[in-house]
C-alpha cells in the first residue's frame, strides 16, 4: 500500500470574533470561521510530499461540528483527496487529552497503526489560535505510539524516513524520523497554497465523510467533558493597559531626540519602578467558582500522591533557563502543600548538575543517565519520566513551556492519564467547589494561562494526579542560588526499549552564549533588517554600548529578518521563534512589527519604536513612536545618552 498523508486540521473562529459561552468554553456557533492558521501550514506540508511521492493519498482529518465542512472543503480544494470529520455530541467539551485519544482512535480505525504496515505520515499545525496549547499533536502521537517532531519548520522526505528541522530555544535541531510518524508544523514553514479552481470544483463534488464516535471504536467514557482530565474553572478578560502610541514629532532630528527625552523624563518613576504591569484583569466572568463558605465537605483527591516534580531540561551539561525559573514556582507550591520539590533530569554525564538544582531550591534531584540520552528527544525522555511518575506518583509535575517542554508534557500526560495545562503564567494552590458533587476539592493546582489570542486569562484545574502544567519562559524569576542548600541525589533507572531511540538527532544548533543577558537586561535595543543592511547594526550596538557605559544593564537584539540575513546571531533573535523578553524599556529600530516579532517583546515595560514607515504595525504596540530614518535619530540619541540620558533607568548595582 502506498504512502498516505493524514493532516489534522481544526476550524477556528476568526480571532476578532472569539467569544465565550456561559460555561467558559468557546462558543463556536456564532463566529465566522477559518482554517486555524498553523493547520494551514500543516496542510501545505502534506501537499509538499506530493513532490516526492506523486501518487500519495492525502487525507484531511478533523474533529468538530458539521460546520467544519467549510474548512474541510477548502482542504480538498487545496489538493486533498479525502476529508473525514469526526463529529459526535459525545465529544463536546473534550480537552486535549480526550481529543488526542479520539482522533487517534479514528486513525487506527482507518487502518493506520505503529506497525507501519500501511505507511503514513501525520501532519498537523503547531497549535490552534483558540486553544494555544500545542498538545493535540503530541497526544495523538502518544496514543498511536508513533514518534513525533513538533515545532517543525522544514521537512525533507527521504524514501523511508523524514529529515526535519525543529525550532528549539535559541536555535534549531535537525531530526531524522522513521515512518510512520507525526510532524507538527510551525507557522514559519511554507505558507498554504491557494486552492485552484480545478481543486475547488473537485472539492464541491467530493463528499466529506462524517464519522461518529462509535464508528471509531473509542471508549466514550474517555472523551467529552467527563472524560477530560482538565476543566476550565474560571475565565477573566485581559485588558491591555498600553495607551495609544505617543508620536514624537518635530522638524529636526534634534527635536525628536529632545522630545523623547522630555517624554521619558515625565514617566521616569514608572520606568525605573520595574516591570510595568501590562496585563490587568477584569473580573467579568466567573464560571463554576464559588466562595469558601459553601458548606460542602472538603475532599482530597490526591490519594497519596506526593511531591512537586519538575523537569530539568538539559542543554548538554547545563540546565536550561526555564528549568530554573519553574523551580521558584515548585518551591512556592511545595511549601504551601508541605511537600518536597523533586527535580528529574534526563541526560548523560549530568550528575554534577544535580547539586546545582538543589542549590536553586530542589529537595531531591533524580538523575536518569544514559549515553543514549546526550541530546533530548521526546521518546526516551517520556519513557524515563513516565516510568518515574508511575512509580513515585507526584501530585504536581511542572515543565518549562519551551518547545521541548510543550511536546513532552502532553505526551507524558496521555501516557500516565493526567491533565496538562499549557504555557501558564501563574500557578497557585486553591480549592474548587464542585456543586454537582457537593464537595470542595482541596488542594487543587490552579494553572492560569492567557488564551484566545491573549485576550482572556483562564484558570485550568484537574483532579487527576499528577496535575501537570508547563510554565511560560521568562514569566517567573529564577530563584536565588544557595550553595549551602542540602538535598538528596538519587538515580533512577528506567527500562528503555529500542523503539524509544528511533528518532535520531542529526544536528543541534543552539547559540546562547552571552545572549542570555537579554532576559534580564533593563533595556533592549533591537534592529530590523534595514538596520543590518545599512550599517550591520552598528548604531544599535553603539547605543547599547553608550548605555552600558552609563552603568545601565543594556543589551541588543534583532528581528528574525536581521538574523536570517546574518546581521546577528540566532541567540539575539527576539520573537516567537527566538527569545521572549520583557525588559523595562524596549527600543525597536527599523522593525516593522510582524506578529512573529511582537510575540517576543510585546510585554515589555515601555516600547519605543523608530521607523520610517508611519504605517508600520509596530506603532500600534508602542508607547512612543518616532517616524524617521533611524540613521538620523540614533546618533542624536547616542549623544543624549553620552550626556547622561538613561531612558529613565537607574544604573544596575
Amino acid at each position: 500500500m502506498g504512502l498516505k498523508i493524514i493532516s489534522l486540521m481544526k476550524q477556528v473562529p476568526l480571532p476578532t470574533e472569539m467569544r465565550m459561552g456561559a460555561d467558559g468554553l468557546m462558543d463556536r456557533t456564532k463566529a465566522k470561521s477559518i482554517i486555524n492558521n498553523d493547520c494551514s501550514f500543516g496542510l501545505e506540508q502534506g501537499l509538499q510530499i506530493k513532490k516526492y511521492v506523486p501518487d500519495v493519498e492525502l487525507i484531511v482529518v478533523s474533529m468538530g461540528p458539521p460546520s467544519f465542512e467549510q474548512s474541510m472543503k477548502k482542504a480538498l480544494a487545496m489538493g486533498y483527496d479525502r476529508a473525514i470529520l469526526l463529529s459526535d455530541r459525545k465529544l463536546g467539551g473534550s480537552d486535549t487529552f480526550a481529543t488526542g485519544y479520539a482522533i487517534s482512535s479514528l486513525i487506527k480505525k482507518l487502518g493506520f497503526d505503529k506497525s507501519g504496515k500501511n505507511p503514513f505520515i501525520i501532519f498537523s499545525g503547531r497549535q490552534t489560535t483558540d486553544g494555544d496549547t500545542a498538545h493535540v499533536p503530541s497526544q495523538t502521537a502518544e496514543n498511536l505510539g508513533i514518534p513525533q517532531a513538533t515545532f517543525v519548520e522544514k521537512v525533507e522526505f527521504q524514501s523511508d524516513h523524514l529529515k526535519v528541522r525543529r525550532i528549539i530555544e535559541g536555535g534549531y535541531q535537525v531530526l531524522r524520523l522513521p515512518i510512520p510518524c507525526l510532524i507538527s508544523i510551525a507557522p514559519t514553514a511554507t505558507p498554504a497554497r491557494r486552492p485552484s479552481l480545478e481543486g475547488a470544483i473537485r472539492a464541491r463534488n467530493t463528499k466529506m465523510e462524517v464519522w461518529t464516535l462509535d464508528q471509531t471504536g473509542a471508549d466514550a467514557s474517555v472523551v467529552g467533558l467527563n472524560g477530560s482530565p482538565t476543566l476550565v474553572s474560571k475565565v477573566v478578560d485581559i485588558q491591555k493597559d498600553r495607551p495609544p502610541v505617543n508620536m514624537i514629532t518635530g522638524p529636526t532630528n534634534k527635536d525628536l531626540a529632545e522630545g523623547l527625552v522630555a517624554e521619558i523624563e515625565k514617566i521616569k518613576d514608572q520606568i525605573a519602578g520595574g516591570h510595568t504591569q501590562v496585563l490587568t484583569k477584569d473580573e467579568k466572568q466567573e464560571v463554576a467558582e464559588a466562595k469558601t463558605d459553601s458548606g460542602f465537605p472538603k475532599v482530597d483527591f490526591r490519594q497519596g500522591a506526593y511531591g512537586v516534580m519538575t523537569w530539568v531540561e538539559m542543554h548538554g551539561q547545563k540546565p536550561s533557563r526555564s528549568s530554573l525559573e519553574i523551580l521558584s514556582q515548585a518551591r512556592k507550591l511545595a511549601d504551601q502543600l508541605s511537600t518536597k520539590v523533586i527535580s528529574i533530569m534526563v541526560g548523560h554525564n549530568i550528575k554534577s548538575v544535580a547539586q546545582e538544582i538543589i542549590a536553586y531550591g530542589a529537595d531531591e534531584a533524580v538523575v536518569v543517565d544514559d549515553p543514549r540520552l546526550k541530546e533530548y528527544t521526546t521518546l526516551p525522555t517520556a519513557a524515563a519520566i513516565g516510568q518515574y511518575i508511575e512509580k513515585n506518583r507526584p501530585e504536581i509535575a511542572l515543565f518549562g513551556a519551551t518547545t521541548s517542554g510543550r511536546e513532552l508534557a502532553p505526551r507524558l500526560a496521555s501516557r500516565v492519564r493526567a491533565g496538562v495545562t499549557a504555557d501558564c503564567t501563574s500557578l497557585e494552590v486553591g480549592e474548587y467547589v464542585h456543586r454537582m458533587k457537593k464537595t470542595v476539592f482541596y488542594p487543587v493546582l490552579q494553572s492560569i494561562r492567557p488564551t484566545y489570542g491573549e485576550s482572556k486569562l483562564a484558570t485550568i484545574i484537574g483532579f487527576w494526579c499528577p496535575q501537570m502544567a508547563t510554565a511560560r519562559p521568562g514569566t517567573f524569576k529564577i530563584p536565588k542560588r544557595d550553595s549551602n542548600r542540602k538535598g538528596t541525589v538519587t538515580e533512577f533507572k528506567p527500562v528503555f526499549k529500542d523503539s524509544d531511540f528511533v528518532v535520531e538527532v542529526v544536528e543541534t544548533k543552539r547559540e546562547e552564549g552571552g545572549a542570555d543577558n537579554l532576559f534580564v537586561a533593563d533595556i533592549v535595543i533591537s534592529g530590523g533588517r534595514p538596520a543590518g543592511e545599512h550599517d550591520d547594526l552598528k548604531l544599535i550596538k553603539e547605543l547599547t554600548q553608550a548605555l552600558q557605559d552609563q552603568g545601565i544593564n543594556a543589551d541588543w537584539g534583532a528581528s528574525r529578518h536581521a538574523v536570517d540575513n546574518g546581521y546577528a546571531p540566532y541567540g539575539r533573535q527576539v520573537g516567537q521563534t527566538g527569545k521572549t523578553i520583557r525588559p523595562k524599556v524596549y527600543v525597536a529600530v527599523a522593525i516593522s512589527g510582524a506578529i512573529q516579532h511582537l510575540a517576543g517583546m510585546k510585554e515589555s515595560g515601555k516600547i519605543i519604536a523608530i521607523n520610517q514607515d508611519p504605517q508600520a504595525p509596530i506603532f500600534r504596540h508602542a508607547d512612543f513612536g518616532i517616524v524617521r530614518d533611524y540613521q538620523e535619530v540614533l546618533p542624536e540619541l547616542i549623544g543624549k545618552v553620552k550626556a547622561g540620558f538613561t531612558f529613565g533607568l537607574n544604573p544596575s548595582k
Partner: protein
C-alpha cells in the same frame, strides 16, 4: 474535466456582479423553459467566476435603482421580495456654495427618482447569486481570471491566475498553477475598466465612436442617530467642492437601519493634476449641509470605484467571436442620472438571449453573436441612452457650458450643437495641464482644510481600513508601473505625480529622499480597493491594473 489543469464548460462568465449574474440567471431560465417537455434536453453548463472573496464583496454603487429590468429578470419574484432597501420617498436637488446649500426648485430632466429604490448593490448581488446557483449555474467566488486563451486568433476560454508566486514573479514552494477553462463562449462582466475587457477591446479595435470616459466614485456608509435622515430620502448635489470647470457631484441616500450612504462622483477629465477625489470627498463631508447629517454618526464602510459615463457613443462593439461584453465593462450607464444597475441587468439579459440562440445552433461566431447588438438597439435601454447620447460630452468643458449644451440637447432631442449629432470625447488622462500652468491648484487651495479629525473626515489609509481591503503581500505587484524612469524623470517634474492624488487608497506614494531631495514613487498595492482609477488616469498610461490573487481586495459587504 478533461485532464489536469483544464476544465471545460459551455459558457464562462468572468465577473460575478449584477451584469454577469443577470446573464447567468436569464440563460438558465431560457434553457429551462426550452427543455420543458423535451427529452433531448439542452445542457446548462455555465461557470461564473468572481475575483472577490464572496459575491458582492467588490460591488459598489450609490445606489438608487430603477427597478424595471430586475422585475423583467425575475418575473416570479414580487416587488416586495426584491432586495431593495427603501422606496425613494423624497427626491431633492441642491447646489452647494462653499458654506451654503441652495435647494433647486425642480429636479433636472432625466434625474427624477420617482418609483426608484434606494438599495445596496452588495445585497442585490448576493441575492442574484443565490438565485443563479439555485438555477444550476456554477458560481465560484475567490478566483481571479488574468488571461483570455486564444487558439487560431479566437478566444477559446480563460485562465485563472497562478498563485504562490513571489514579488519578482518567481514560483515559490506553494506555487499553484491557474486553471484553464475552455469555453465556447466567454462573457466579459468584469465591471468598469475590466482588466481583460479593456485589453480585449483594444486588441480587436472594438471602440466605435468615442473612447470611454470615467468618474471616480468615492463613498462611505454611515450609521447616524435615529431620526437624522429618513430612509428613502435622496439628495443629489452639484457645486462644492468641484470647480465650475469640473464635472462632478455628490449624493446622500437614506437607508433603513439608520444607515446613510454618502459620496461623490468626480469626472476624471479634470485638468488639475493635484485634484484628489478622496480629499474632495472629505471636503464634501465638511460642508455644513453634509456635516450636519453625519456629525453624530459613525463611519461603517468606505469604498471607491470608477463609473463609465461616456454613454451611448462610448459603447464599444459588444461582441466578437466567442465573446460578449456586458454591464459596466461595456459602459452601460445612463447619464445624467448616473444609473447603471438596470442597464447592466438588461445587457446581461440581451446577451443571454443571444447566447441561448447560439447554444441551440452551436455557433458562437461573431456573425451569430451580432444579434446581441440588434437586440440592444430595440431595447428600452437604447432609447434611454440615445436621448442623452451627447450629455457627458457636453460637460467636458465644465458645468456652465455643460448646462447650456444639455439644455440645447433636450430641445434637439439629444443632438445638441453637434451637426453630425455626435459630440466627441477625449480620453480622461489626456486632459491634464502641466503643474506650473495650473492656477490655484486643488492641493494649494484646500491645503488648510485637508486635516482629518478621524471622526467626520479620514486620511486615505484610515478609509482603506474601513474598506476591509486585504492582499497577500507575497505576489507580483498588481498595480503595475510600466516604466519607473518615466515617473521620476518626466511625470513627477511635469505633473507632480498625479497618481499620489487620484488614487483613493494610497497605493501610490511619492517619497522625497531627505538627503538628495530626489522624488521617487513607492507602491503599496496591498491598500488597493480595485477602483481602477490608476489604469485610466495616469497621464502617460504608465500604470496597468491587473487582477491580484482571487479573494484579495476590499470587503464592501453592503456598499
Amino acid at each position: 474535466m478533461t485532464k489536469s489543469g483544464f476544465i471545460e464548460t459551455d459558457i464562462l462568465v468572468i465577473g460575478g456582479g449584477v451584469a454577469g449574474l443577470s446573464f447567468a440567471i436569464h440563460i438558465a431560465d431560457l434553457v429551462e423553459k426550452h427543455n420543458q417537455g423535451l427529452s433531448n434536453k439542452l445542457p446548462l453548463n455555465v461557470l461564473l467566476l468572481e475575483k472577490g472573496a464572496s459575491l458582492g464583496s467588490h460591488s459598489l454603487s450609490g445606489a438608487v435603482v430603477n427597478p424595471s429590468t430586475i422585475k423583467e429578470l425575475l418575473p416570479e419574484i414580487a416587488e416586495k421580495d426584491l432586495p431593495f432597501d427603501s422606496p425613494v420617498t423624497k427626491d431633492e436637488f441642491y447646489h452647494l456654495l462653499p458654506q451654503h446649500a441652495i435647494r433647486m426648485p425642480f429636479t433636472p430632466p432625466f434625474m427624477g427618482n420617482r418609483g426608484n429604490f434606494v438599495a445596496s448593490i452588495g445585497k442585490i448581488t448576493r441575492f442574484l447569486g443565490e438565485i443563479a446557483e439555485k438555477k444550476g449555474v456554477q458560481v465560484y467566488p475567490g478566483f481571479s481570471v488574468d488571461e483570455l486563451l486564444y487558439e487560431n486568433g479566437q478566444v477559446v476560454g480563460a485562465k485563472t491566475i497562478d498563485t504562490g508566486v513571489d514579488k519578482h514573479g518567481k514560483p515559490m514552494e506553494n506555487f499553484q498553477p491557474g486553471t484553464k477553462v475552455l469555453a465556447k463562449l466567454v462573457i466579459l462582466a468584469e465591471g468598469p475598466r475590466g482588466s481583460l475587457s479593456t485589453k480585449f477591446i483594444r486588441k480587436h479595435e472594438l471602440v466605435k465612436n468615442n473612447p470611454q470616459v470615467y468618474s471616480t466614485g468615492v463613498k462611505e456608509l454611515w450609521d447616524v442617530p435615529e431620526g437624522t435622515f429618513q430612509a428613502g430620502r435622496v439628495i443629489h448635489t452639484l457645486g462644492f467642492p468641484f470647480e465650475f470647470n469640473h464635472f462632478g457631484g455628490g449624493f446622500i441616500y437614506g437607508m433603513n437601519s439608520r444607515q446613510v450612504a454618502v459620496g461623490i462622483a468626480a469626472a476624471l477629465d479634470y485638468k488639475d493634476p493635484t485634484f484628489n477625489p478622496h480629499a474632495a470627498f472629505q471636503l464634501y463631508k465638511k460642508h455644513p449641509f453634509v456635516a450636519k447629517i453625519l456629525e453624530k454618526g459613525r463611519i461603517l464602510k468606505y469604498g471607491a470605484k470608477t463609473i463609465p459615463e461616456g454613454g451611448f457613443y462610448s459603447l464599444p462593439q459588444l461582441y466578437h467571436d466567442h465573446v460578449m461584453i456586458v454591464g459596466d465593462s461595456a459602459g452601460f450607464l445612463s447619464m445624467p442620472s448616473l444609473k447603471g444597475i438596470h442597464l447592466a441587468i438588461e445587457s446581461g439579459m440581451l446577451a443571454a438571449q443571444t447566447a441561448f440562440e447560439a447554444l441551440q445552433k452551436n455557433d458562437f461566431s461573431k456573425g451569430q453573436l451580432q444579434s446581441y447588438e440588434d437586440r440592444y438597439q430595440k431595447s428600452s435601454g437604447y432609447k434611454n441612452l440615445y436621448r442623452v447620447r451627447n450629455f457627458r460630452a457636453g460637460f467636458q468643458y465644465g458645468m456652465i457650458l455643460g448646462a447650456f449644451h444639455f439644455a440645447w440637447q433636450i430641445v434637439t432631442g439629444g443632438r445638441g450643437i453637434a451637426p453630425s449629432g455626435k459630440m466627441r470625447l477625449h480620453e480622461d488622462a489626456s486632459c491634464y495641464q502641466k503643474l506650473p500652468d495650473v492656477k490655484n491648484p486643488f492641493l494649494t487651495k484646500f491645503k488648510k482644510e485637508l486635516n482629518f479629525d478621524k471622526k467626520l473626515t479620514f486620511d486615505k489609509v484610515t478609509d482603506v481600513f474601513y474598506s476591509g481591503s486585504k492582499h497577500d503581500e507575497e505576489q507580483p505587484c498588481h498595480c503595475r508601473v510600466l516604466d519607473f524612469d518615466l515617473c521620476r524623470d518626466i511625470c513627477i517634474p511635469k505633473y507632480g505625480g498625479p497618481c499620489q492624488h487620484f488614487c483613493p487608497a494610497e497605493v501610490y506614494e511619492i517619497v522625497t529622499d531627505p538627503k538628495t531631495g530626489k522624488k521617487d514613487l513607492h507602491l503599496h498595492p496591498a491598500n488597493c480597493v480595485h477602483c481602477k482609477t490608476c489604469d485610466i488616469n495616469d497621464p502617460f498610461g504608465n500604470i496597468e491594473w491587473a487582477v491580484p490573487y482571487g479573494g484579495d481586495g476590499p470587503e464592501y459587504e453592503n456598499l
